[in-house]
Symmetry: C2
Subunit: 407 residues, 2 copies
C-alpha cells in the first residue's frame, strides 16, 4: 500500500477521478485499486482496509433490492433470478465457506446481514435485535453499494451466521446486476435511491406461523408456545423497521392463506399476490386478459381440469400505500405441467423471450419451494422483469452517446 | 277449387309429390296451390280452405322459435334480428291491419297467438287462459310450420289482439327464415323438432313486477294490489306451460335485477345472462377471454371510466336443466359509445362480419328498449348467431349435392 489519499465517494461516480476530500470516508490508491477505510461504527476494522478496484467506465451495475424477513424464500428467489440469466449462483470460489454471497456470470447477490454493525454478542449486550437499525451499518452499506454501482470493487464484510461473528471481508467486484437482499434494503433513503428496482417479499403472519410450526415443531421439536413466543418477540421490531419498507417497493409478493378452502390454516395452499407499481421506469406490469380492468379467472373448466381446490386468478388496478398499482393474484397450486403452460399462455406482458419460458424456468427448478404455486410463478416473472429492466437500461446507455453524436 | 284429394303432410317434404292419404289432414290441388282443410279443433273453419303453394324445391326455410311471456320485449328482439339481415320488418302489405306478422326480405315473424283455438270469449266461457294449451291449436301450428319449412305457403289464421276474435287467415309464403314467437314455440314436441334454433326470454319475477309497476301504475293508474293480483293469477299457468319450455331452448336470455346496487328493486339496472347450450349444430357460443374457463370482468378501470354503478361481466361453463351450457352475463348499463365498443372488442366468437358490428346495430336502434344494457346486447348477439346459423345451413345444403356428385 503506497500513497493513501482521502477522497469523497462522490469522486468515484464515473471514472474514479479524485476530488474534495471527505472527513467520513478515506480512500487511497494502491496500484489499480482504491483502499477504503471506514470511520463508521465498525471502528475495530479501521485497520482492515477495504480494497476497491475501478471497473470499465462505460458499464454501470444495475442494483436490485430484495427485502424480506429471514427465512422467507429469498435464497430460492435469488436462485430463480440467477437462472433466468442462464447461470448458476455459487459462493465466491476459495473464499470464506460461510460467505453469504452468491455469484453468477451476470449477478452477484449480497446479503445485507453482512452490514450488521453488532455481532450476536454485541446485540445481546445492547439488547437490540438484528432487525434494529442500530445493529446495522447503513453508512457502510450505502458507500459500498454506491461504489459497486459506480463500477468500483469493495471489500465487503461478512456476517457469519454460524458463529454469529463478523468475519474478515471478501472482495466484491462490480457485476452486471447486484442484488442486495436482506432485512433493510429500502430502509435507508440513500441506499433506496441507489436501487434500480426493489422487491418486498411479504409473508402474512398466518402463513409465517403455519410455516414455522411445520418446520420448528415437526422437524425441530419446538413447542407451539415457544414458536408463538419467538414470533411475538420479533414482531415489534419487524413492524417498526422491516414492514414499512414495502411502501417503497416496485413489486411486492404477498403470500396469504388460500381462500379456496374455507378456514384453511395449514399454510400449504397459498394465495399469492404480485403487487406491481405503475409508472416505474423500465418496468411494465404483467396483466391478465385486459390491461387496467378488473378480472377474476378460474382457468380450470372445460379445457383444463384441475384437482381440488383448483386454481383461481385475479387481476386489477388498485392503490397501495397511495401508489397506483396493478395486482395479479394466484390462489391454489399447479398439479400438472399443462396447468402451468395454460396459465402462462393467458398472462400478458410476461417479458419472456419465447413462449413457455416461465414454464421452462419453473420446471427446471421443480424442486425449489413454491414451484407449484404463486410464489414460484411470481418470483420467476419478477426474474424476467428484472432481466428486461437490465437490458433496457443497457440499451438506453448504448443509445445515449449515439443520440448525442447525432445532435 | 277443382279436384280435392287427400294426402298426408309427409308427402310435402321435398317436392310436394302425392302419397298415402291420411285421415287427419286433407290436401287438394288447385292450380299450383295446395288447399288444406284441417280437422282439428278449429272445426268452424273447415270450410275456409288454407291455400298452400309449392316453393322452389332446393331452398328450405330455417325455423327459429322464440318463447316468452307477453310483453317481454319479443317485438324489440324481432326488430333487432331483422335489422341484422339488413331489412325492415313490416306488417303484410294490404292485409289485415291487426295482423301480428312482420315480414322483411329475409325473415317472416309469426305470432303464435294466431294459433289460439279459443277467442277471448271462448276462453272466458271455458275458464282457461291464453297460456293454457287447451286454448291453442298445436296440430295446426305444427302442420303450418312444417309446411312453411318444406317450402309451402299457408293461410295462417290471425288472432286479433284488439277485438280478441279470430280474424280471417292471411297468406304466409315460405321465407328464408321463419321466426315463430309467442307463448308456446317449444311446448309441442312436433313443433319443437321443426326448430333449427330456439330462444327463451326469461324475465325474472322481480323484474317483471318492477316493469309492470312502472307501466301499469305510473302510466295507467292501476293499483299496486291489482298489479300483484294480475301477476299472481297468471302465475300457475305460466309456471305449468310457459316456463318449462326454457329447458329446450338453445339460448336463454335471463333478465334479473342488478347485483351492483345492494337491494335494488327499481328494475332499471339489469343483470342479463345469455345461457348458450353447448353442442348445438351451427351454433358456437360467445365467450369472454378464455373459452371454457370461469371469468368475471369489470371493464371499467384504468382505460375505461364508467359512472356508478359501473358494468360487470361474467362468463363460464355451467349446467342448465342437465345440459352443458356457457353463460355470459352483463350487469349494469352502457352510458357512452366507447363503453359499448370496448366491451364488444373483448367478447369473442360474436359471429359479426366486421369489427364494431354489434355496436353499430345497437346504435342504429338506440331508441329500442334495452339498447344500453344486456338485453339489447344479447338480443343483438343472438341475431348475429342466427344469421351465421342460417348461412351455415344454406352452405351445407349447397355443399351436399357437390359431395354426392363427387362420391
Amino acid at each position: 500500500m503506497a500513497a493513501c489519499t482521502v477522497y469523497s465517494t462522490q469522486s468515484l461516480k464515473t471514472n474514479c477521478f479524485i476530488s474534495t476530500p471527505s472527513s467520513k470516508t478515506h480512500y487511497g490508491f494502491h496500484s489499480k485499486q482504491i483502499v477504503l477505510y471506514s470511520t463508521s461504527k465498525r471502528n475495530k476494522r479501521v485497520n482492515n482496509p477495504y480494497v476497491i478496484t475501478c471497473a470499465a467506465g462505460d458499464t454501470q451495475t444495475v442494483v436490485i433490492g430484495l427485502a424480506a424477513d429471514s427465512g422467507c424464500g429469498k435464497s430460492t428467489f435469488m436462485r430463480r433470478l440467477t437462472s433466468v440469466f442462464g447461470g448458476t449462483a455459487e459462493p465466491p470460489k476459495g473464499g470464506n465457506p460461510d460467505s453469504n454471497t452468491l455469484i453468477s456470470d451476470t449477478t452477484t447477490v449480497i446479503c445485507l446481514d453482512d452490514y450488521h454493525s453488532l455481532d450476536r454478542t454485541g446485540r445481546k449486550e445492547k439488547g437490540v435485535t438484528a432487525l434494529d437499525p442500530r445493529a446495522n451499518d447503513f453508512d457502510l452499506m450505502y458507500e459500498q453499494v454506491k461504489a459497486i454501482k459506480d463500477g468500483v470493487s469493495v471489500q465487503k464484510p461478512i456476517y457469519n451466521h454460524v458463529t454469529g461473528l463478523l468475519d474478515p471481508p471478501e472482495l466484491i467486484k462490480p457485476p452486471k446486476i447486484l442484488v442486495i437482499e436482506g432485512l433493510h434494503p429500502m430502509y435507508d433513503a440513500r441506499v433506496r435511491d441507489l436501487l434500480d428496482f426493489s422487491i418486498y417479499l411479504d409473508i402474512s403472519n398466518e402463513v409465517k406461523f403455519a410455516w414455522k410450526i411445520q418446520r420448528d415443531m415437526a422437524e425441530r421439536g419446538h413447542s407451539l408456545e415457544s414458536i408463538k413466543a419467538s414470533i411475538e418477540a420479533r414482531k415489534p421490531d419487524f413492524d417498526a423497521y422491516i414492514d414499512p419498507q414495502k411502501q417503497y417497493a416496485d413489486a411486492v409478493i404477498e403470500v396469504l392463506p388460500t381462500e379456496l378452502i374455507p378456514d384453511d390454516n395449514e399454510g400449504k395452499i397459498l394465495r399469492v399476490r404480485l403487487i406491481q407499481k405503475e409508472g416505474v421506469k423500465n418496468f411494465s406490469p404483467v396483466y391478465l386478459f385486459d390491461d387496467g380492468s378488473t378480472i377474476s379467472w378460474i382457468p380450470c373448466g372445460r379445457k383444463l381440469t384441475c384437482s381440488y381446490p383448483g386454481i383461481k386468478f385475479a387481476y386489477g388496478p388498485d392503490a397501495y400505500f397511495g401508489n397506483e398499482v396493478s395486482i395479479v393474484e394466484m390462489d391454489g397450486q399447479f398439479d400438472r405441467l399443462d396447468e402451468l403452460i395454460y396459465v402462462e399462455s393467458h398472462l400478458s406482458n410476461l417479458s419472456s423471450k419465447f413462449y413457455g419460458e416461465v414454464t421452462q424456468q419453473m420446471l427446471k427448478h421443480a424442486d425449489f419451494p413454491g414451484s407449484n404455486n404463486g410464489t414460484g410463478l411470481f418470483q420467476t416473472i419478477v426474474g424476467l422483469k428484472i432481466r428486461e429492466l437490465y437490458e433496457q437500461i443497457v440499451a438506453t446507455r448504448a443509445e445515449t452517446p449515439v443520440k448525442a453524436a447525432k445532435a
